[in-house]
């Protein structure tokens, strides 16, 4: 892994390689290990190291972009010259004002190298629980160590090094399955055995699932399901691009109630569990932004381009440039309530518990309407207790309405891999199931 000094030297030489009015370069070095397991054995196992740079060269209001998978100095210089050449052929973008002028940021986490043997040991811990319960195990372990340097000709100079790790485990009987997941900065935080016990319990509890008719049910959404809904809300409209275009559910609604008063959503870069760097792809420090406060729309997130259009400062939410998507909230957090899982279950006379959702897709973005399936642990809850597993069902739900229908929110929250958000469980009224499947 290259040192900060080495990365800065490459970045500085990249800035010197061309004579643009403004120049930006971003360097990434990533080492990733991924171990997948299925049928209770490891079947795919990879180690990958990537060095990459991205550059933007600006001539007046003409912008050329380049990305090259290499940090070789000659190839970096060659790439920057290619971006310069593209800029010369570009048209003016009248909405472009300037690259950001930003204070330097340094974000360095403790990083421990994780070996293939350590990942294999975690899989063995999971498989041991599976075999002990006559179940089959499948899943994945990711370990990622990444370093980034962002520099521009206006003085931005941000450096970061961090790591993150992730485990999914699905344990299966011949007609049911149970899922568990964990994501953290530090791989050593994972207890494969404990994770497997959770998945095992769900798989066994949902054995021989019964069919129930589609309809509206009181439903307990566990954190992976909540994170999936929140990720789609983010995709539709927490960024300034959709907000300014008028296609976001936040457009024209700032200061107005858009969902239930129990719901507060922030982009919380300062939460200790949050992943990634505390600066964005333009090197701008990421601010904490309140998006929805007690059901009322408050703010969206900005990069420098869309911030300039409103005469505002960037909130530090740029993704890799240039891109057609605009800024993105990377550290969503749905604030917790005070209920325990036991309280939430106890309050259900008849309802459904969803472990996770699957293949959620937009049906109507104007209505924040999505559809998808349940998966890997869907249960009927009766008289305050999980009574039996049920066959998977299709749901079709308006996300803002679903959040407004939350009657209890758990105090416990967890970081989720899908969408990278920190979320609690939600107990919601009238969650809308619209179809069924055969298992």
């Amino acid at each position: 892994m290259k040192s900060r000094e080495q990365l800065q030297e490459i970045a500085e030489s990249a800035l010197r390689a061309v004579q643009g009015d403004q120049v930006e370069v971003g360097l990434d070095v990533t080492e990733m290990g991924v171990t997948r397991f299925a049928n209770s054995g490891i079947h795919q196992n990879i180690a990958r190291e990537t060095e990459e740079f991205r550059g933007r060269v600006i001539l007046g209001k003409q912008i050329g972009g380049i990305s090259v998978v290499s940090l070789d100095k000659d190839r970096v210089s060659e790439g920057m010259r290619a971006a310069h050449e593209l800029a010369k052929h570009q048209r003016d973008d009248p909405d472009f004002k300037s690259l950001p002028e930003s204070v330097p940021v340094e974000h360095i986490d403790r990083v421990a190298t994780v070996t293939p043997e350590e990942r294999a040991q975690c899989v063995q811990d999971i498989v041991k629980v599976a075999r002990g319960n006559n179940l089959t195990a499948a899943g994945v372990i990711y370990t990622i160590d990444t370093t980034a340097e962002i520099m521009n000709s206006l003085g931005a100079n941000s450096f970061g090094r961090t790591s993150y790790a992730h485990v999914d485990a699905t344990l299966m009987t011949d007609n049911s399955s149970g899922f568990t997941t964990a994501t953290a900065k530090d791989f050593s935080a994972f207890d494969g055995r404990a994770l497997a016990e959770t998945a095992s319990e769900k798989a066994i509890l949902s054995r021989d699932p019964v069919e129930i008719p589609p309809g509206k049910y009181l439903t307990l959404l566990e954190p992976p399901a909540v994170a999936e809904l929140l990720a789609f809300l983010n995709y539709i409209g927490f960024g300034a691009r959709a907000f300014q275009e008028g296609s976001s559910f936040m457009s024209g609604k700032i200061g107005k109630r858009i969902t239930g008063d129990k719901i507060t959503v922030v982009d919380d870069v300062n939460h200790p569990d949050t992943l990634g760097f505390r600066f964005d792809a333009e090197g701008v420090p990421t601010n904490e932004v309140t998006l929805i406060e007690k059901g009322t729309a408050r703010n969206v997130v900005y990069d420098s381009y869309y911030a300039h259009k409103e005469g505002k400062p960037s909130t530090g939410h740029a993704i890799e440039q240039p891109n057609p998507y605009g800024p993105y909230a990377r550290n969503l957090r749905l604030l917790p309530g005070e209920s325990t899982r036991e309280d939430m279950l106890a309050s259900i006379d008849k309802g459904i518990l969803i472990t996770r959702l699957w293949y959620t897709r937009l049906v109507d973005p104007d209505k924040t309407l999505v559809t998808g399936m349940t998966r890997d642990g869907t249960f009927l809850v009766e008289n305050g207790k999980i009574s039996k597993g049920i066959k998977n069902m299709r749901y079709t739900a308006n996300i803002l309405e679903t959040l407004a229908n939350a009657i209890m929110i758990s105090g416990e929250q967890s970081l989720q891999w899908f969408g990278g958000s920190i979320v609690p469980s939600l107990l919601v009224r009238d969650f809308n199931f619209t179809g069924k499947t055969e298992y």
Binding site: V34, T35, R36, A38, N39, S40, I42, H43, Q44, N45, I46, A47, R48, E49, E51, I63, G65, I66, S67, V68, V69, A82, L86, R91, D93, D95, P116, A120, V123, T136, A138, G139, V140, Y142, D168, T170, M172, E245, G246, S247, F249, S251, P322, P324, W358, Y359, T360, R361, L362, V363, D364, D366, R375, N392, T396, T434, G435, T437, E438, Y439
Partner: protein
């Protein structure tokens, strides 16, 4: 490149690997995007790297790097062996690959006009013309257009002696018009397949797309969508266009016939399949007029190549023949488990990924109808075009497709427009109700540049040959 490959293969042989291969890949790409008269993205990329796959102690290992020095290749080959050793501590059984021929060959996409050699100004001009055409229609708030090009050089070398060099060229793009009013939006795309249309062709494909000629039409439809009613929930006859058929094939036939997921190796993300081997040859999956093939040899398809990433030649095979489920997409590891040889579908999304079983060009073979005759032959129903998003369960049974627009069919004629009609049901029940397929005159190979599978996610380029088709008794719309 050959000498670098030898460094890897020599190292693997010294490490007593049962099998090993290396793929050295160099991809140039270009992306141009225009929005509301501004060129918002003008970017070129180059990805160069290698991936080494090895079987040692009966288990797979894989390591990859973007550093192409000889020292790096030797080090990464040893890392791949180390990863395989870690895998072998928890293997289910020893990996065995099906027999293959040693192949030394080259393949190149036939290209008339190198897309990366076409002047940038010409490409920008094409997009700006379409952009103006869309924004010339009152009510259009967002006009977007894009072009994407890839040129990929791949070298595959294995310890079995194969040495294959390929150059694949891909071109494509699309335009989107969006109207916005009072919190409602209406969007239409052209050519109408998930925001773009892509082929293994040169710039001559872009010349054939006629963006500007279609810009005004889709913009008018996008504005009309603002006041179009939604489709009420009902069960009716549905005629879908080629892109809709393509997305149906993708989700309900392509993915469930991937033999790796059938054997459970994609459980942790994509899931499994209801098309288990006991059903092969005897499940009535579709009506008798339905024939679905996987054909990597079709000229121009985004799933067209010379050899897959295991060195198996491109080929054609039947997945559904006269309505019966008859075959899978297979690999050297999975095909022997059903008594077959690989039909050449293993591909990786770049140097840093392992090959997985991926769709090639998975096609609904054409029938003999004309679309206008098909509509005229339908008393009542819905004509639906342009999918936006599919959703399906993890065994590929319960599907749902969201779309851009539909028109009611009344007495054999297109009538009122409806906004974003969706339809859903059980996949084989849909295909069993297919009673008419349009002819080769209306058959097109629709490219999908972003088929997702695997962990880490691999975004693959695949395609589906399809023409419009009719399905009876389809559940459309949703309850108010």
């Amino acid at each position: 490149m050959k000498d670098l490959a030898d460094v890897a293969l020599d190292t693997l042989s010294q490490q007593k690997a049962t099998y090993g291969d290396i793929r050295l890949i160099d991809t140039f790409s270009e992306s141009i995007q225009v929005k509301n008269g501004n060129v918002t993205v003008l970017k070129r990329s180059q990805e160069r790297g290698f991936g080494i796959r090895v079987i040692r102690n009966g288990a797979w290992g894989f390591a990859a790097s973007s550093d192409l020095s000889r020292e790096s290749i030797q080090r990464v080959a040893l890392l791949a062996v180390k990863v395989a050793q870690a895998s072998s501590t928890l293997k289910t059984e020893d990996i065995r690959l099906g027999e293959t021929e040693k192949i030394v060959d080259t393949y190149e996409t036939p290209v008339k006009l190198d897309p990366l050699a076409v002047p940038i100004e010409d490409k920008i001009g094409l997009l700006l013309e379409a952009d103006e055409g869309m924004r010339g229609i009152e009510g259009i708030k967002i006009a977007q257009s894009k072009l994407n090009f890839w040129k990929t050089k791949k070298l595959f070398a294995s310890t079995e002696g194969s040495l294959i060099e390929q150059e694949i060229v891909e071109s494509g793009g699309g335009i989107t018009a969006t109207s916005v009013k009072n919190g409602e939006t209406g969007s239409r795309t052209y050519p109408g397949f998930l925001g773009g249309h892509y082929k293994t062709m040169g710039y001559e494909f872009i010349d054939s797309l006629a963006f500007a000629e279609n810009a005004g039409r889709i913009a008018e439809e996008a504005v009309a969508l603002l006041v179009a009613p939604e489709m009420e929930e009902t069960t009716t006859t549905v005629i879908v266009d080629g892109p809709m058929v393509a997305i149906q094939i993708h989700e309900t036939v392509g993915h469930p016939t991937e033999l790796d997921r059938v054997f459970g190796t994609e459980v942790s993300l994509a899931g499994t399949s209801h098309l288990t081997p006991d059903k092969m040859g005897n499940l009535r999956f579709a009506s008798q007029i339905v024939n679905i093939t996987a054909d990597a040899t079709l000229p121009g398809g985004l799933g067209t190549f010379g050899y897959d990433d295991e060195g198996t030649p491109a080929q054609k095979s039947y997945l559904i023949r006269e309505g019966t489920f008859t075959g899978y997409l297979t690999s050297r590891e999975t095909a022997p488990l059903i008594g077959q040889n690989s039909n050449g579908t293993m591909r990786a999304a770049g140097w840093g990924h392992i090959p997985l079983i991926r769709m090639t060009n998975v096609n609904l073979e054409p029938g003999d109808w004309k679309l206008e005759d098909l509509i005229a032959d339908t008393d009542e129903g819905l004509f639906i075009v342009s999918p936006t998003a599919p959703s399906i369960d993890d065994k590929r049974l319960n599907y749902h497709v969201s779309t851009e627009v539909g028109w009611r069919i009344k007495n054999g004629k297109l009538a009122e427009m409806v906004k974003r009609p969706s339809y859903s049901g059980i996949s084989y029940e849909l295909w069993r109700e297919c009673d008419a397929i349009c002819s080769r005159d209306e058959w097109e190979i629709w490219g999908v540049p972003n088929c997702g599978k695997g962990e880490p996610m691999q975004s693959m380029h695949v395609a589906h040959g399809a023409s419009p088709a009719r399905f009876r008794k389809v559940k459309v719309g949703r309850k108010k």
